[in-house]
Amino acid sequence: MEIPASQMSTCLPLSWRLRRAALVALLLGLWAPCKIVWEQRIAHEQDLLRYHGAPMTRQLRDELGQGLTIGVLSGMRSVVADLVWLNVTTAWMDQEWFRMGGYINLCTALQPRAPVFWDMGGWQLAWNASIAATQDRTQPNELRRLKASRFWLDRGLEIFKRGIENNPTYWRLWNDTAQLYQQRLKDYRTAATYYQQASEQPNAPVYLERFPAIMYGLAGDDQASYAAWRALWERLTPQEREMKQHWKEKIETNIRRLEQKLSVPKEKRVFPN
């Protein structure tokens, strides 16, 4: 049977409903401040470890479009960055360098701590774009072509350097920058400093540690070259010096040659005989 709605509150006992509300409020009320504190601690740790990409600004949202923005918001930031990177490859194949540059900027903004984007992005610009510009028949003359080529090289260099800022322990970025200075810009001294840094990063190949000395030699600075070779030799332990290993022979050969060339006094030589 039905009775008027005035009795609606009597359907469930009041004590029941009060108890339910009180328990929920208690649980959430106790947790909320702990939650804030804990989250702040986690965020602080992550800041120290330098995580996070660029925050979701309106500009970023516009560049990505709706679908990819939802992708970033669902925590698939790296996948979105990878998908955007596919555009870099397409732009390269179409030889649309400005578009390619734009996508490289977008990817590095999304995931600045992914060294790969800086590495390959810088390489695309400083090598592919730059060299393609030297063969660009749409330019009226050689000077223009050289200017364009230098423009892309500088863009690439910029990418490498910003990449190093964000990922200082990724040896390839230091190495790639050094290679640019060495092979394209013929600035051997700067190349030497970058090779030195590269050789000091974790997972760097062993051969890199010889490059600074070689670079100083190419720059014509025998003193610096000798100092570098000597420093390498002095880093070796006595056991290592005893063991027959090819790269030690290289160090020894170069030291001997330079000591000869620079006429280093016998008592100061590493290899007096």
Binding site: E2, I3, M8
Partner: protein, 304 residues
Amino acid sequence: MESSAPVATSFAAETVGLTKRYPLTWKRKVLVALDHLDLQVRPGEVFGLIGPNGSGKSTTLKLLLGLIVPSDGEARIFGLPPDSLDARRRVGFLPENPYFYGFLNGDETLRFYGKLCGVAGPKLDQRIEELIDLVGLQNGRERPLRSYSKGMLQRIGLAQALIHDPDLLFLDEPTAGVDPLGSAQIRDLILRLKKMGKTVIFSSHLLEQVQEVADRVAIFSLGKKVLEGSLESLLTENQSTQINIPAELSAEQQQRLLAALAQAGIDGGGGKVRFTRPHLSLEQLYLRTVQAQADLASKNPSRK
């Protein structure tokens, strides 16, 4: 919810002023599904709840099972609150439509509910075998429940209700949609349970079946209990006697009987004493016929 201290009582199930109201927000009214029910069921009784749809029978069962919370009043199972674990350990429930998982087979279903009741290990295995035999589900035990017929579902339902050997059984429409043979088997089972000392509370539309098994009934209408009492006292028509004579009487024999009655001081004139032929119920005829056919088939297997 309510206090969980057991109250000393001699009743298996008891309600005092039990009320349940539901808000019908869209109609801006309140539905009183059950209105101040006072009920006592003694241990070992078979108690029937009868009444039209929406009269409060299902609501009563759900309140006694602790599935829903009363708006007013209280219910007790063996002196305990119905939602306490101790109360539910002594209670078995056969729901109206089979509320089981279709993806489990018969064995798995009994095993699942048995474990929930705290029966485990070899005792559970033994119990499952006993119950499969009792309800006659040897053929279907390996098949998933979604392939069961209605009758089989009722049988597995009874089995899971009994898995932990409860003292009190709630059966909601136990024979609805079951063929007469199956119904008769369920009826026999209820009587057997009664003999074992168990209490049974069941609701049904099939009044004749209620009549066959129940000791006491309560009639519900519009959320209220209208009538309650033992079948014996409710149904017996006072002020009259029935005599069964195993022969057909001719008109002359009828007259002579009337005269004999008149001599005994009973006025049978004017149609006060009626001579009628006793009737079988259709169910009795059906069962007799079907059983006879089954007996014949088992005696002469070549005749198929």
